[in-house]
Point group: C2
Chain length 192, copies 2
Amino acid sequence: MTDFLISKIKQYVEVDDADIDLINELFVKEKYPENTIVLSQGSVCNKLWFISRGLLRFSINVDGDERTFVFRNEGSFTSDIDSLLKKTPSTKSIITIEESELYSITYEKLQLLYKKMKNGERFGRLLVEETFIGAVNHIVSFYSEPPEKRYIKLLDQNKDFIQRIPQYHIASFLGIKPQSLCRIKKRIYKTN
Amino acid sequence: MTDFLISKIKQYVEVDDADIDLINELFVKEKYPENTIVLSQGSVCNKLWFISRGLLRFSINVDGDERTFVFRNEGSFTSDIDSLLKKTPSTKSIITIEESELYSITYEKLQLLYKKMKNGERFGRLLVEETFIGAVNHIVSFYSEPPEKRYIKLLDQNKDFIQRIPQYHIASFLGIKPQSLCRIKKRIYKTN
């Protein structure tokens, strides 16, 4: 059941049979219909999730205006790391775009995984390093690049699932109106 | 010599005698006069530093305008983690405010430390987690809080060394002109 999860953990560290038993014991399968809240802005995030199937988006509610700022697809680990580590209310929501199957591990069990898995601490370090790089890239891109450039990057980096994301979420991600996204797409496809 | 460094590492993990030998072997002492570049924007950051004495600032050059955005004092580990991990050119400079004494470890030796120190991987995880939280807090604060609030927070969180930072660096950190900082200070001291 957790084969996909285990194969992903193996991309970070070596995993033996005892580790696999531990992973099976500590992770719990969760299923969500489409457009369903996994984590609600304002609540403390107490889990790390692995997406075994489906598609999620992260969004922030700014004065009633809901802005999507990250997409995560199957094969990704995801969480609000900041809220998870500090036990403070999350500044964002995590919402399914499609029906999704996730494997979740609570903060407490994650500490157990780090401790008991042969290369648990190393797995944790590599996971946080990767999340850190992703977050920095995202922020730098958001504040320094125009929507058109960010759209091309989004297409480029997310070939596998970009066609599964509704256009209004993509427009929200770019910080523009759907009509402006239409114009950008016309321009791009005319040039290429 | 590295007593301060070792006592700081002990705040993250247990350290035994073999670990101490390793730390002494892998870290190198560096001394910098005041106003000296430790890391230059555009070059790849290949080190993690521990500040045993002194004060540093992080700055970004935006179209010729140099903006300070972080201060780090003695007892802190510091690096451009993003550049260090990805081996990409750093998007910031690290510059001394005062004469400073640092202990540096190269990326390659840091990997050795993670591997060979008893709790090396755990130390690495906790260090990156802490850096992650700091970076997120900083970014959220910068984009969501007015200069006056950020100034009060800066005073509050950096009581130990705030008086050692020249006013023009503080103004730069707040994204305002030195005259505006004067007005903010007058307002604050009048109210209290």
